[in-house]
C-alpha cells in the first residue's frame, strides 16, 4: 500500500513537466550477453554495461544502432519500459550516466597509454645499443630490433596516406605498393600552393625551422614521467614523428600512395558548375585549415594535417579530372567478407549494395543544395568509399564490410627517423617506474570495475548508477529503490522495474525472425509456415550463420515441443563438438568450442528454457521495421 501511494505520488508529481527514459531488457541468445542484457536509454543515447577482459564498463551507443545490433543482427526480442519522471530527475540521471561514461573512458585510455609507454620503453631499451651505433650512419636509421607486431604504438595513423613502409626500409627491402591512385600532378599543384602560403605567412624557412624544432623536442623528450601522466611519452613521441612526416609531405610535395585513393568512374557523380563551385569553396576551407594546423599547438596536429592534405590532393584531382577521387577510409583491420560468404549471403548483400549505391547518389545529388564543410565531406567520402567497395568487390571477390572510418587512418610502422636521446640507465629507470604505474592503474580499474558474476554485472551496475545519481532522493523521484545487490538477473530485474518504477508503458519489439514470422502467419497457411520455419533446413527466414553453433530446431516459439527439439539440438551440438575435435589441430579448437557452446545452449531447452534463437550476419538496418507487439 505504501509503495502504491509513493508511486502514485511520483506519477502525479511527474505529470507536470514530465520526461521519459527507457529501461530495456534484451532477451537471451547464443553469443554475447547469452543470459540476456539490460540498458537504459535517454533520448538518442543508450547506456549499457559490457564485459571485456575481466572488467565491466559503461558504453554509450546510438539508440538506432543498439536496437539494430540486438534486435536484428542478434535476433533478440527487446522489452522496453517507458519510465516517466520529472524533467529534473531525467536530467540528473542522464547527466550522471554521461559523466560516468566519460570518466571511465578517460581512465581506460590512461591505462592503454601506460601500456603503450611500457612497450615503447621496453623496445627502446632492447634496441638501445644498436640504435646508438646506427646513429653514426648518415641518412636512414634501420630498426635495430624487430618492431612488435599488432601494437598500435608502433603505427603512425595518417602517415600511410603519403608514405609506404618501404620508404623507410633499406634499399634491398623495397616493395612496390599496387594501386591506381596517381596524384603526382595534383599533389604538386596543391602542395606548392600550401608551401607558398606558409612561406608567405611565416617566412621562407618555416618548414626547416619547424622540422628542427620537432626533432630537437624528440631528442630531448623525458623518459621519466613527472606530472605529465595524462599526455604520455608514447603519445608525445608518435605525435611529434607524425608532425615531422606531415612537414616532409609539404616539402617534398608528395603524392598520395598508390593504394590511398580511388576514382569513381562512370556517369554517376557528374560534376556540374554548381557542384564544382562547392568543391572549390571546400578546397579553400581545407587550405586554410592546413595552414592553421601547421602552426597549431594541439598535440596531434600532424595527423590532422596529413588527413587535410590528403583530402586537398583528392579534391584537386577531382577538380582537375572531372571525376570523383576519394581517399580510402577503411582501416587496415577492416572485416573482410570472403568470396564464399559473398555467394552464400548474396540476397542480403545485394540489398546492401543497392543501398550503398542509392546512398552515394543521394549524397552527391544533394551537394548543390548546401555549402560543404569538413563534416559534410566526411559523409560524402564515407558514402563514396562504401559504394566503391561494392563496385570493386565484383572483381576482387572480397569485400571490406566493417571498418570504414570518418577520418582516414591509413598507417605505417613507426619509422625511426628521429629518436629520443635516452641513456640505458634512464630507460631502465623509466621502465621500472612504468611497471609500477601500469600496475597501479590496473589495480585501480580492477577495484572499481572488476566483473563479478553475482555482484557486479550489467544489471547491478545499471541500478547502482541510477541509485548513485539520485542518492537519497531515489525513492522520492522513482517511487522505489531497486537494490542492486538483490537484482542481478536481466529477466527478473525487468519485472522489478515494472513493479517499482513509474512505468507508463511497456513496448515489446519482437526479434527480427519473430517479426518476419508474424507476417508470414498472416499471409500464408499457419501450420505450413510453422512446419517450414521451425527448423534450419527448410526455413526461409534463416540462412545458416557460421557464427551460430549447429542446431536443427528453433525453440523460441515451440514451448511444448521445446524439450524434444532441445534434445535434437543437443545431438547437433555433440556432433559439431566431435567434428571440431577431429578438426582441432587445424583450427586451434575453434569448431570444438563452438560445438560445446551449442550443446550448452541446448541443455536449458530440455527444461523448457529457450536461449538460442539464431542470428543474422549481413542484414541491413532497413530490415528492422518499427512494428511492435502490443504493449502489456
Amino acid at each position: 500500500m505504501k509503495r502504491f501511494l509513493t508511486l502514485l505520488a511520483v506519477l502525479l508529481g511527474n505529470t507536470v513537466n514530465a520526461d521519459t527514459f527507457q529501461y530495456l531488457y534484451i532477451e537471451a541468445n547464443e553469443g554475447s550477453s547469452s543470459g540476456g542484457h539490460v540498458a537504459v536509454q535517454f533520448g538518442d543515447d543508450v547506456f549499457h554495461y559490457q564485459f571485456k577482459d575481466g572488467l565491466i564498463r559503461l558504453l554509450k551507443q546510438d539508440a538506432d544502432g543498439f536496437r539494430f545490433d540486438y534486435r536484428v543482427l542478434q535476433n533478440r526480442t527487446l522489452h522496453i519500459a517507458d519510465v516517466e519522471v520529472s524533467a529534473d530527475t531525467f536530467s540528473l540521471l542522464q547527466d550522471h550516466f554521461k559523466l560516468i561514461f566519460w570518466q571511465q573512458d578517460r581512465q581506460f585510455k590512461q591505462l592503454q597509454a601506460a601500456e603503450k609507454d611500457y612497450q615503447l620503453l621496453e623496445w627502446l631499451l632492447r634496441s638501445h645499443s644498436a640504435l646508438l651505433s646506427s646513429r653514426q650512419i648518415s641518412g636512414y636509421i634501420p630498426h635495430p630490433s624487430p618492431l612488435p607486431e599488432g601494437e598500435g604504438i608502433f603505427k603512425l595513423p595518417g602517415a600511410g596516406l603519403f608514405f609506404n613502409d618501404s620508404d623507410f626500409a633499406p634499399v634491398g627491402q623495397l616493395t612496390e605498393v599496387h594501386g591506381n591512385c596517381q596524384t603526382k600532378a595534383s599533389a604538386k599543384s596543391i602542395l606548392t600552393r600550401l608551401h607558398a602560403q606558409l612561406a608567405l605567412q611565416h617566412g621562407s624557412d618555416f618548414l626547416q625551422r619547424r622540422k628542427i624544432e620537432l626533432t630537437t623536442t624528440i631528442q630531448h623528450l623525458s623518459a621519466v614521467i613527472n606530472g605529465t601522466k595524462d599526455y604520455r611519452l608514447s603519445e608525445r613521441y608518435t605525435d611529434l614523428l607524425t608532425g615531422l612526416l606531415a612537414l616532409r609531405v609539404i616539402e617534398e610535395m608528395r603524392p598520395l600512395t598508390n593504394d590511398a585513393c580511388h576514382t569513381l568512374t562512370g556517369p554517376a557523380g557528374h560534376l556540374d558548375p554548381q557542384k564544382t563551385e562547392r568543391l572549390n569553396n571546400l578546397q579553400q576551407q581545407l587550405m586554410q585549415s592546413a595552414q592553421n594546423l601547421a602552426v597549431s599547438k594541439r598535440p596531434d596536429w600532424g595527423y590532422a594535417l596529413l588527413v587535410t592534405m590528403s583530402r586537398l590532393v583528392a579534391l584537386q584531382q577531382t577538380l582537375q579530372s572531372g571525376q570523383w577521387v576519394f581517399v580510402d577510409d577503411f582501416s587496415a583491420d577492416s572485416t573482410v567478407i570472403a568470396a564464399e560468404d559473398m555467394m552464400r549471403f548474396a540476397d542480403e548483400l545485394s540489398v546492401q549494395r543497392k543501398k550503398a549505391e542509392t546512398g552515394w547518389r543521394q549524397h552527391w545529388l544533394s551537394l548543390g543544395n548546401t555549402e560543404l564543410n569538413e563534416q559534410h565531406y566526411s559523409q560524402l567520402e564515407l558514402a563514396a568509399n562504401r559504394y566503391h567497395e561494392w563496385l570493386v568487390s565484383n572483381n576482387r571477390q572480397t569485400l571490406r564490410y566493417h571498418g570504414e572510418q570518418a577520418l582516414p587512418v591509413k598507417a605505417i610502422n613507426l619509422p625511426t627517423i628521429a629518436l629520443p636521446k635516452f641513456s640505458s640507465q634512464q630507460l631502465q629507470q623509466a621502465l621500472d617506474q612504468q611497471v609500477l604505474d601500469t600496475q597501479q592503474l590496473t589495480q585501480q580499474l580492477e577495484q572499481h570495475y572488476a566483473y563479478q558474476l553475482l555482484t557486479r554485472n550489467c544489471v547491478t551496475e545499471i541500478f547502482h548508477t541510477i541509485n548513485q545519481a539520485l542518492g537519497t532522493e531515489t525513492q522520492q523521484r522513482l517511487g522505489d529503490v531497486i537494490d542492486e545487490h538483490l537484482n542481478i538477473v536481466p529477466f527478473t530485474a525487468f519485472a522489478m522495474v515494472k513493479a517499482s518504477y513509474p512505468v507508463k508503458h511497456i513496448t515489446v519489439l519482437p526479434s527480427h525472425r519473430q517479426q518476419q514470422l508474424a507476417k508470414q502467419y498472416q499471409q500464408e497457411f499457419p501450420p505450413l509456415v510453422y512446419a517450414r520455419e521451425s527448423n534450419v533446413v527448410s526455413a526461409s527466414l534463416y540462412d545458416y550463420n557460421p557464427d551460430d553453433a549447429w542446431f536443427v530446431f528453433f525453440t523460441d516459439d515451440a514451448l511444448l515441443l521445446r524439450p524434444i527439439f532441445g534434445a535434437i539440438n543437443s545431438v547437433a551440438g555433440v556432433g559439431q563438438s566431435l567434428f571440431g575435435l577431429v578438426k582441432s589441430p587445424f583450427d586451434e579448437g575453434q569448431l570444438l568450442a563452438t560445438g560445446m557452446r551449442g550443446l550448452l545452449m541446448s541443455l536449458p531447452e530440455l527444461a523448457f528454457i529457450n536461449m538460442r534463437k539464431g542470428s543474422y550476419k549481413f542484414l541491413s538496418p532497413d530490415s528492422a521495421s518499427q512494428e511492435n507487439l502490443p504493449g502489456q
Binding site: K52, L99, S289
Partner: protein
C-alpha cells in the same frame, strides 16, 4: 530415479549459469556505426551531426572538469577532443564553432564563474578572441 535427478540438476545448473551470465560476453555482432552497409546515409543528418558533436564536447568537457583536480592538462584534454571529433569526421576541430560552444556550455554546467571562468576561457580558447567569444556564446546559451 537418481539418474533422472542428476540429469535435472545438470540442466537446471546449466540454465542458471547461462541466465546469470547475462552481459558477460562482449562485442555485439557489428555496430551500425561501422558497417559498410549501414552507416547513416541521409544528408539531413548533417545538422544533427554537428549538434551531437557539440553535445559530446560539452559532456566530455564537463566530465573532464569534474574529474580533474588542480592543474588542467590541456594536451590530454585536447587529445580527448580529437578523439570525439575524429568519430564525427572532423580533423580541424579548432576551426569548428561547435567545439568552443560545447566547451562554454560545459563551463556553465560545471558552475564555473568569475576569475576561474575567465582563466578557463582563456586557456581553452588559447587566448584567441574568436574562440573565446564562441566559448562565451556557449556559456551564455545555458542561461
Amino acid at each position: 530415479m537418481f539418474v533422472l535427478n542428476r540429469f535435472n540438476l545438470l540442466i537446471a545448473s546449466s540454465a542458471c549459469v547461462l541466465i546469470l551470465n547475462g552481459c558477460s560476453f562482449s562485442d555485439s555482432s557489428g555496430s551500425i556505426s561501422d558497417s559498410i552497409g549501414s552507416i547513416s546515409d541521409s544528408s539531413s543528418s548533417f545538422s544533427g551531426g554537428s549538434a551531437k558533436y557539440e553535445s559530446d564536447v560539452e559532456d566530455y568537457t564537463y566530465a573532464y572538469l569534474k574529474s580533474t583536480s588542480g592543474t588542467t592538462n590541456y594536451a590530454d584534454f585536447q587529445n580527448g577532443l580529437s578523439d570525439i571529433a575524429k568519430k564525427r569526421g572532423i580533423s580541424d576541430w579548432e576551426s569548428d564553432d561547435h567545439t568552443y560552444k560545447g566547451i562554454g556550455k560545459a563551463l556553465k554546467k560545471a558552475r564555473i564563474e568569475g576569475v576561474s571562468y575567465e582563466t578557463y576561457k582563456k586557456n581553452f580558447g588559447d587566448s584567441n578572441p574568436t574562440k573565446m567569444k564562441q566559448i562565451q556564446q556557449g556559456y551564455d546559451s545555458q542561461d
